[in-house]
């Protein structure tokens, strides 16, 4: 018989530990606060002010207009005027500029005849982020080029129209996902150390000699951290909305429901880690081993679609992958939770599987 009294006794005791442990207690608020500010302000995929050189062979009103438009886009700062394409290439190679703009002498004639490309952009392709940023320049009204060097050339063909994040501000995209990333780290870490700590400090030997059952202990360990999880979600979301103008387009209740599924699956993963680790140090290591692939493959750092099939299948196993889709769906696209069911049930299944494994692995014996 599962005793709720015992479950709540464990949960209450965990809360006392947290309250008495100032550092850990501080980190409950500190981690989301610091990481949100850091990620929100520092990580900027929205590249601006790239150093650019230019060669203007046409020297007409149209060519100067094009250069001004490029400047006005703020993507590039025109810093060096060069005399030839060769000089542009040299500047690129030396890293003095990231972008070269070449306007041929027959620029106006090409426009008049609609003879593509009108001009050429030479881009430092060694940084894919720069490359994708400059792609935006292609859509400048009157532009692009003739093939000179295939690697460096971008053709202007169509206009890019970003939906849902028209300003293309990174924070809008990063901050909602950050709730998932931070919770993956903190939630797993809390429970991963929860049982190992009892072992390290010698409490476990006494505890397993009592009538407490594994499932009661596990459930009791999870309960207080659900509350902590919501506190962290609240901090991140509040910072996102106030500081980074993240729009919450969907229902907040839907989002909080989804967060519950995600929080309990992360916590249960921590419990399993806790039953695998022999010391707190091992628990830390295992947590990071589980965290890094989630961070890299979930679609948070790199687009999911760009990954190889095998990596995609692997990523489908991670709670973070599904939570990111849910979060972006609800917060950025205004989707309803019911529309995102395909990503909700994997979280529930993950939680159920972990809650079976953890008590099974945790034997109430010392051997």
């Amino acid at each position: 018989m599962i005793s709720f009294r015992r479950i709540f006794a464990v949960a209450g005791k965990e809360l006392i530990h947290l309250r008495r442990d100032r550092v850990t207690g501080g980190l409950v608020l500190g981690i989301p606060l610091i990481l949100t500010l850091l990620f929100g302000y520092a990580i900027n995929q929205d590249i601006r002010h790239l150093q650019a050189g230019w060669v203007d062979m046409a020297e007409t009103q149209a060519s100067r207009g094009l250069l001004q438009d490029a400047m006005a886009s703020q993507v590039v700062d025109l810093v060096r005027r060069a005399g030839s394409t060769a000089e542009l290439e040299m500047l690129l190679r030396r890293g003095e500029i990231s972008v070269g703009i070449y306007i041929p002498a027959d620029f106006e004639r090409r426009i008049a005849r609609q003879e593509f490309p009108y001009a050429q952009l030479l881009v430092d392709g060694s940084d894919p982020v720069v490359l994708s940023a400059v792609r935006g320049l292609q859509s400048l009204p009157v532009t692009p080029p003739r093939d000179l060097n295939v690697n460096h050339v971008i053709r202007a063909s169509f206009e890019l129209r970003p939906f849902y994040n028209p300003e293309r501000r990174s924070a809008v995209f990063i901050v909602p996902g950050l709730t998932g990333v931070i919770l993956t780290l903190t939630m797993v870490l809390f429970t991963a150390t929860a049982i190992v700590r009892e072992r390290d400090q010698g409490n476990l030997e006494l505890l397993i000699a009592t009538p407490i059952q594994s499932l009661e202990l596990m459930t009791g360990k999870i309960l207080p951290y659900i509350v902590i999880g919501y506190v962290q979600v609240g901090v991140i979301l509040a910072l996102g909305v106030w500081l980074f103008d993240v729009p919450v387009r969907g229902s907040l209740i839907d989002f909080l429901m989804a967060a519950l599924f995600f929080v309990i699956s992360a916590l249960s993963l921590g419990l399993v880690i806790s039953t695998l680790a022999a010391s707190q140090f091992q628990a830390f290591q295992l947590t990071f081993i589980s965290f890094l692939p989630q961070m890299l493959l979930s679609g948070y750092m790199f687009p999911f679609e760009g990954m190889p099939r095998a990596a995609q299948y692997l990523a489908e196993l991670f709670p973070l992958t599904h939570f990111l889709r849910i979060v972006r769906g609800i917060i950025l696209r205004g989707a309803e939770l019911s529309e995102l069911q395909a990503d909700v049930w994997p979280l529930a299944v993950f939680f159920a599987v972990m809650m079976v494994i953890a008590p099974l692995r945790f034997r109430k014996r010392l051997d």
Binding site: R6, L207, P211, K364
Partner: protein, 310 residues
């Protein structure tokens, strides 16, 4: 129920790889008594206790604790036994009351728990420390708290694993008074120790050495039945006497206590005092007396035989 043995172990064995921590232990612990496990470090006391609590599975053999086979499910048994671990295992960052409350809930004491906690606090004189964190208490206070917790749910059988090893003599004495009180209430107590004075206080005693039960009985009985005789030699040159005596095969052990020496002679000699006298030719001594063996002598003899050099 009285008179029925509380613990019956037969050939109880536990191996850790090559090491045999407990080796075919046969044991009968009667109810309502204080039963001592005496043995040096590493003699298998803790391992035996852990098996009897159901925390370790025996590699071989079996034991019945309060009628429950320890190889099977011990879930029901856990309500009836109390366990005090060797290392302090309550929560250091919880207060006395919080620790007691937690374990009261774990043992599902229900409505009576608040009252019971008050009782225990009073009984083990922890009123002053009620709201003190366990980590900040003295060794003696912590042991009292651990005992209060282990007996919170009124167990019939208490396992205490070296409960007083980190406690000053005054607190130890006090601790044993609590144990006798509980034994008077009918609780059976199995306590391990390496202190002779504590072993002397037990109703019954088992001496363990290298996992083997080497002696078992009441302290008086063990002394009476000791196979060796003890001779006390006083000498201005105890070192010389010791060297001289240890050369003889019949001398089992020789322990120096200041200017006195306790010499253990195997039972084969009819008049051991005269025998020692004969051995000590050419060494200065002032007296040779046959004395009653102490429990320490019993212990030295018992642990000497098996693990010793012969």
């Amino acid at each position: 129920m009285a008179g029925d043995p509380v613990i019956i172990a037969s050939d109880l064995t536990r191996r850790f790889g090559q090491l045999v921590a407990v080796d075919h232990l046969n044991l009968t612990v009667p109810a309502g008594r204080i039963y001592g496990f005496l043995g040096p470090n590493g003699s298998g006391k803790s391992t035996a206790i852990r098996m009897l609590c159901g925390l370790l599975r025996p590699s071989e053999g079996n034991a019945t604790v309060l009628g429950t086979d320890i190889r099977g499910s011990t879930a029901a048994l856990r309500h009836r036994i109390g366990y005090m671990t060797q290392r302090f295992s309550l929560y250091g960052d919880l207060t006395v009351v919080e620790n007691l409350r937690f374990f009261a809930s774990v043992y599902d004491l229900g409505r009576s728990s608040a009252e019971r906690i008050e009782q225990q606090i009073e009984r083990f004189s922890l009123q002053q420390q009620k709201n003190q964190l366990a980590d900040t208490m003295s060794g003696g206070q912590r042991q009292r708290l651990a005992l209060a917790t282990a007996s919170l749910h009124k167990p019939e059988l208490l396992f205490l694993d070296e409960p007083t090893s980190a406690v000053d003599p005054e607190s130890r004495r006090e601790f044993w008074e609590f144990l006798f009180e509980m034994a008077d209430d009918g609780v059976t107590i199995l306590v391990s120790t390496h202190f002779m004075d504590e072993a002397e206080r037990c109703h019954r005693l088992a001496i363990l050495n290298h996992g083997v039960l080497v002696a078992d009985g009441t302290p008086d009985r063990l002394k009476e039945e000791m196979a060796a005789r003890v001779i006390e030699v006083r000498s201005p040159d105890p070192g010389g006497v010791r060297r001289q005596l240890l050369g003889a095969e019949t001398v089992l052990d020789c322990t120096q206590l200041g200017t006195r020496l306790h010499v253990m002679i195997d039972g084969s000699q009819g008049d051991p005092a005269a025998y020692v006298n004969g051995l000590l030719k050419g060494v200065r001594y002032s007296s040779i007396t046959a004395i009653e063996p102490s429990l320490e002598d019993v212990f030295v003899m018992a642990t000497h035989h098996v693990g010793g050099d012969r």
